[in-house]
């Protein structure tokens, strides 16, 4: 505020200094608060462990050393981070538009189903065509599933919170039907689909680990989403609609169209997460393809303050927690569900620390 009165154009040097100062403050704000939130939640987690007779400190040490033990462990973390980043990035876009998409879980299933259906249907295609095809199918299915909620909001003013939750259930139940019915592997008695054709498998990037190209795509898409939101005209409109529908109308933006766009993007990202799980990890559709990535993605986006690039880090952090929780259980028999508690506390700390400054004005009310 010191230079508010100086109407002279500031010298180039002070401009750079100011710029650096701003960048530093911005970075500090962007990092310090979430970091504090994470520390608080870890502390609460350790406390909870201690209260119940575990040694919290030892357990976290075990966890971290296990998570970063070798290339393979790190690859596994990144493998888990992939769907979390994708969903988190998508939700950043939706939340920036003030759309409360709680339905990423269902959109993930929609994507997984579409990928499976396409991935077992066309023998003879080359990988160059088949892999993009299955990925595209997943993204489109996720977007379409999310768009249902968007359209219901636009045309019937139905709260997307309720509709996306309902659509989650419908997608999960439908998947359970598909793997015992139409998509069931004819060759086996199990409720699972046939294996995806080899040509539809996503390429691995770090053999012998099973890390696939999805993580790179997720990071690229996070950056793309950042560019979309903060550097493109269309993303700008999405943000303005999210902050102030009145200003958006004044500016000639269509509130409905942007709502539909934002929720479809978040759906497409969740659909991609489903596609990657099928075409990159399991190669079959099962009844329980997601352990709640869709819900975890909400926390990922919030911790990132709805910044897609931030979601790369918060998504990875949650993946570390998830991987670590498995190690905790294997090595110290600590119930894995502790992760949920820590996630809950992360969200509350983020809120408590006021990192979550993003406005919650709802459009079209």
């Amino acid at each position: 505020m010191a230079n508010i009165d100086s109407e002279r154009s500031p010298s180039a040097g002070s401009d750079i200094l100011n710029g650096l100062g701003r960048a530093f403050t911005k970075t500090w704000q962007a990092v310090a608060m979430p970091a504090a939130a994470v520390l608080v939640s870890m502390g609460c987690g350790a406390l909870l462990l201690a209260l119940n007779g575990f040694n919290g400190w030892d357990i976290f040490t075990v966890m971290l050393s296990g998570v970063f033990q070798d290339t393979r462990s790190i690859a596994e973390v990144l493998l888990k981070a992939t769907p979390l980043i994708l969903i988190g990035v998508g939700l950043c876009v939706a939340f920036r538009c003030s759309i409360w998409n709680i339905g990423a879980e269902g959109q993930l299933y929609a994507g997984a189903v579409a990928t499976t259906a396409v991935g077992i249907a066309f023998p003879g295609l080359t990988s160059w065509i088949y892999v993009p095809l299955v990925i595209l199918a997943g993204a489109l299915a996720g977007a379409a599933w999310a768009a249902i909620a968007g359209l219901l909001k636009i045309y019937f003013r139905a709260s997307e919170i309720v509709t996306t939750i309902m659509l989650n259930y419908i997608a999960i139940i439908a998947t359970s039907w598909l793997v015992t019915g139409p998509l069931k592997d004819a060759a086996a008695a199990y409720p699972q689909s046939a294996r995806l054709l080899r040509e539809a498998w996503m390429p691995k990037i770090l053999p012998p680990t099973r890390l696939h190209i999805g993580i790179l795509i997720a990071i690229a898409l996070a950056i793309a989403a950042y560019i979309f939101l903060f550097r493109s005209s269309a993303g700008y409109a999405v943000r303005v609609v999210g902050i102030s529908p009145h200003a958006a109308r004044y500016a000639g933006m269509s509130v409905s169209r942007n709502i539909l766009l934002a929720i479809s993007i978040s759906g497409a990202m969740a659909g991609l997460a489903g596609a990657f799980e099928i075409a990159g990890v399991t190669f079959r559709l099962y009844q329980n393809i997601s352990p709640g990535y869709g819900f975890e993605g909400i926390a990922v986006a919030l911790l990132a303050n709805n910044n897609p690039v931030g979601a790369i880090f918060s998504g990875t952090l949650f993946a570390v927690l998830r991987s670590g929780s498995e190690i905790m259980q294997i090595n110290a028999q600590v119930p894995q569900v502790l992760v949920s508690v820590i996630q809950g506390i992360v969200i509350l700390s983020v809120v408590g620390f006021g990192v979550y400054r993003f406005r919650s004005a709802r459009p079209s009310e």
Binding site: G53, Q69, A189, Y190, P291, E326
Partner: protein, 327 residues
């Protein structure tokens, strides 16, 4: 309670080292077994069976054991196998058919580790399917039901092979005794909703079923509650665990798959350097594994002449003369 947790902690401290220097641990010659379960071992049911098998190996063979619950998330299976295998675990039991793919992927990298898969018929080098053919005891239950009851109902969790097999055996058994006997099936769609299992059983009883068997892992207990509340005329069998306490008047007998014994036997073989040559299918012939006993405490116990008949059928199944399900 406290003791167990302290024990866990001791294990944690021990494995803290293991986590850091896994290879060092592997060389000290200790035999280790890991377990992957697709849900919570806190439920009475499928996951508990796997857990008991692990405990059996720990207690009877003195192996070092560990387990991990994977929330039915296929994406995490491969990593869990690899985690154990790379820490030098000798045997890893994937408790459920869904672990098969992941095991097949990891197994070639760890030829010295044996991968056991429950409810599977696979046999590829070091990946060996173990199955308890539940259709056999269920065949007996169906047979008894058709002889003693008017109509039977089966409450399943989700439509997965172990449950489908069991029900198939039950239906075949019932048909074997009385081709006109009616058997209905209901799936509640999950393994956690005790209330749904209970209501499903109540519904069947109300529709005239006097012989009801629930088979829904953690939610199974709801079925027995319904049966107990419906009076002593409704009959059932206690499966997998002993539910006599819940429905003492109704339970005609117990089918306990001492899967643990079966697993202990196989693991013992592996310890001694004898890996099974083919997949393993436990049946009534394996008396140490599959225990089917009739109770005398029920309000309407199985009559003496029927018991003899059952012994006969049992023998025929064990001998392979009666086929309880399509293979």
């Amino acid at each position: 309670m406290n003791l167990t947790r302290r024990a866990c902690l001791a294990g944690a401290a021990g494995l803290l080292l293991a986590g850091i220097s896994a290879s060092a641990m592997a060389q000290d010659g200790e035999f280790k077994m890991g377990l992957l379960v697709p849900g919570s071992v806190s439920e009475e049911g499928w996951n508990r069976i796997g857990y008991n098998a692990l405990k059996g190996v720990e207690e009877q063979l003195g192996a070092k054991v560990s387990y991990v619950e994977l929330q039915q998330n296929p994406a995490s299976f491969e990593k869990a196998f690899r985690d154990y295998a790379s820490q030098g675990f000798n045997v890893i039991l994937g408790h459920g058919f869904e672990f098969q793919d992941a095991a097949l992927t990891v197994a070639p990298e760890f030829p010295d580790t044996t991968f056991l898969i429950s409810s599977s018929y696979i046999h590829e080098d070091n990946v060996i399917g173990l199955n308890t053919d539940t259709s056999q005891p269920f065949y007996l239950m169906g047979y008894i039901a058709a002889k003693m009851g008017k109509k039977a109902g089966l409450v399943g969790g989700m439509e997965i092979p172990p449950i489908q097999q069991a029900f198939e055996g039950f239906v075949n058994g019932a048909k074997g005794a009385n081709p006109a006997f009616e058997v209905n099936q209901v799936y509640i769609g999950n393994f956690t909703d005790i209330s749904a299992a209970k209501e499903a059983a109540l519904g069947m009883i109300a529709q005239g079923a006097d012989f009801v068997v629930p088979n829904a892992s953690g939610a199974t207990v709801g079925g027995y509650q319904a049966i107990a509340e419906s009076g002593p005329d409704v009959k059932t069998f206690s499966i997998f665990s002993d539910f006599t306490e819940v429905a003492p008047k109704n339970i005609l007998g117990l089918y306990v798959a001492d899967y643990a014994q079966g697993v202990v036997r196989i693991v013992k073989g592996i310890m001694e350097g004898q890996r099974p040559e083919s997949n393993v299918d436990f049946g009534l012939a394996d008396a140490d594994v599959m225990k089917f006993t009739l109770s005398d405490e029920a309000a309407h116990p199985v009559p003496e002449e029927l018991r003899k008949e059952i012994e006969d059928v049992k023998a025929k199944i064990a001998a392979g003369e009666i086929v309880t399900r399509q293979k």
